[in-house]
Amino acid sequence: MAETIALDGPSGPKPRRAISGRNIMIYGTLILVSCYYLLPLYVMIVTSLKGMPEIRLGNVFAPPVEITFEPWVKAWSTACTGLNCDGLSRGFWNSVRITVPSVILSIAIASVNGYALANWRFKGADTFFTILIVGAFIPYQVMIYPIVIVLREIGLYGTLKGLVIVHSIFGMPILTLLFRNYFTSMPEELFKAARVDGAGFWGIYFRIMLPMSLPIFVVAIILQVTGIWNDFLFGVVYTKPDVYPMTVQLNNIVNSVQGVKEYNVNMAATIITGLVPLIIYFVSGKLFVRGIAAGAVKG
């Protein structure tokens, strides 16, 4: 009786219990780890919403009794760094003026580089690529001083333009690698078909390759925006106080030695500075993780 045999016993998906040892283990660990990582953020937010008298009470974890946005306003518009007392707003706009052109310039050049390396195997392409990749493994610190001299000689030391150029150059190896690998993974026959159809170097790049590579452009933008926005070293070395990027200015606010330490202002300033990468993270979601994974080569 084959039919009765088939009717008995397990059928369909195996039932799974919601509360099992395995689930408790997994979710328990996840919750614990997220608490550990979110705690500092919590302290920052809570502190930034308190007035100084309340902070002096010393209850770091206690929620604010009286919520005030005064520290945020001060951090943005009136906190002093050196001679300037216009808060982080100056640094914010400096950072925007550094990040936007650097991101556009570096991605524009690197995508063409990657496309040429992947599809047009010109003479010396491999050598060129090797040199570029070696560049990714040289510590930045080694090159700081030579670049200072170069920028001084071409008259761009201490200017935003100079910093934009530096960021574009340092983004080149990793971005070129990123784009080259992406373009290599695209079917070669598509490129051949376009050549038979009479499209040239730029024709194929703009009409065929670009429309197909939105994902990698998003990854590159995320990588560059977060990288350049968060940069401190190049900002402090290659610019002057009135064009300091936000990160450098933040450091100057937090580390200023005169007067009272205004913890609430410092916390607010730090959160404001970190807001841009944070927003990018929430907006781009999964692509951000891919960007980080791609950037893992960078170390």
């Binding site: 079917p187 038979v196 159809d197 009479g198």
Partner: protein, 367 residues
């Protein structure tokens, strides 16, 4: 000598002259020569890695040759860009531009060539009509089935109104039924357009059904260039014989004991009806090649027959393949599926010698 080719009548549509191609130290093509007549359907056939696609890419101008020349319509195009060679090409993976509609795909090349708009729409309409893809014009490639995509890819070659069509394994990505369907369609297309077509494939059925002539290739050289019937019946060497035909040819070790008699497993096979290319020396070790359909079982009116034992029977629907043991050698015979044989059965086997092939065992060349 001047390389410009002679009168228009005898001028080949595509001529490959001493073309070599090396990738580093690897010789992919070895001084190839090939003339393809106007309107001819030539198939380049061979296993993967034999250089057939490479040769096609060289003709298309997608690869630079290391040496030699390529002529299309009498014009030396060796240094020309692909777009200037008067070719249309169809790829295995279709290679449709995914972000463009079918219409966009068809017009991309024409727009690059800056053709007037009326001309473009005229050509697109014609190609769409021929290939019956009119209802698909506004769709994106992702919304098409494999067969439809390949039809659009053919259309893209069609609108170029090229003299020469190049096909790079166009049917290999399709399932068996669609492949058979599109094969017929390509043949019909060729009959209608009468363009020169060069078609690369590793599928011998495609080669045999489509080709006016087949070039069988092996490691960068052409082994035999002939019409399909000749290739099938008179393979020039062991390689061609083993590559063409499914189920494949039987190869039996034997010896030529005189110009008309073959010694095989201690028995004599008369060679009446076999057409030797040249008088042969005796006592020569040879390979006797006979296709399964030319092996007969228990044929009453065959004078010479040999005892064999049935090992295995493979029914294939229209006919059956019977595997036999004759002395120490194995061979297969193709019989009507109505003939029933069973393993262990003793049968009498005979050969249709006139349709067989005899190869020199040492060189592998046909005798």
């Amino acid at each position: 000598m001047n390389t410009e080719l002679k009168t228009p009548d005898s001028m080949p549509s595509v001529a490959v002259r001493n073309v070599s191609l090396n990738f580093g130290s690897v010789e992919v093509l070895k001084s190839l020569n090939l003339d393809i007549a106007k309107g001819e359907f030539l198939v380049l056939l061979g296993p993967s890695g034999c250089g057939k696609s490479t040769l096609l890419n060289c003709i298309a101008g997608l690869l630079d040759v290391s040496a030699g020349q390529i002529f299309i319509n009498g014009k030396n195009v060796t240094w020309e860009e692909p777009k200037d060679r008067g070719i249309g090409m169809v790829f295995q993976s279709y290679a449709l531009y995914p972000q463009m509609t079918v219409e966009g795909n068809l017009t991309f090349g024409l727009k690059n060539a800056r053709l007037p708009r009326e001309e473009i729409s005229k050509r697109v309409a014609r190609a769409a009509e021929i290939l019956q893809i009119e209802p698909l014009l506004k769709r994106k490639p992702a919304q098409l089935s494999g067969g439809q995509r390949q039809r659009v890819a053919i259309g893209r070659a069609l609108v170029r109104e090229a003299e020469v069509f190049l096909f790079d394994e166009p049917l290999s990505n399709l399932d068996a039924r669609l492949r058979a369907e599109l094969r017929v369609e390509i043949k019909r297309l060729h009959a209608r357009l009468d363009n020169t077509m060069i078609y690369v494939t590793h599928d011998q059925i495609e080669a045999l059904t489509l080709a006016d002539r087949i070039a069988v290739m092996k490691s960068g050289t052409i082994q035999q260039l002939d019409d399909p019937i000749t290739i099938y019946n008179k393979p020039r060497n062991l390689y061609v014989a083993s590559f063409i035909g499914s189920p494949s040819m039987n190869f039996l070790k034997a010896e030529l004991s005189s110009a008309a008699i073959l010694r095989f497993e201690g028995q004599n096979v008369g060679l009446r009806g076999y057409d030797f290319a040249a008088p042969q020396s005796v006592n020569l070790p040879i390979v006797f090649g006979v296709r399964p359909e030319h092996v007969r079982i228990n044929a009453a009116n065959d004078a010479e027959s040999y005892e064999a034992m049935v090992e295995l029977v493979e029914p294939m629907g229209s006919d059956s393949l019977v595997w036999l043991k004759l002395g120490g050698q194995t061979l297969s015979a193709r019989v009507e599926s109505s003939e029933r044989h069973h393993p262990g059965e003793r049968v009498r086997v005979s050969f249709r010698v006139g349709l067989s092939s005899i190869f020199d065992a040492a060189s592998g060349e046909r005798l």
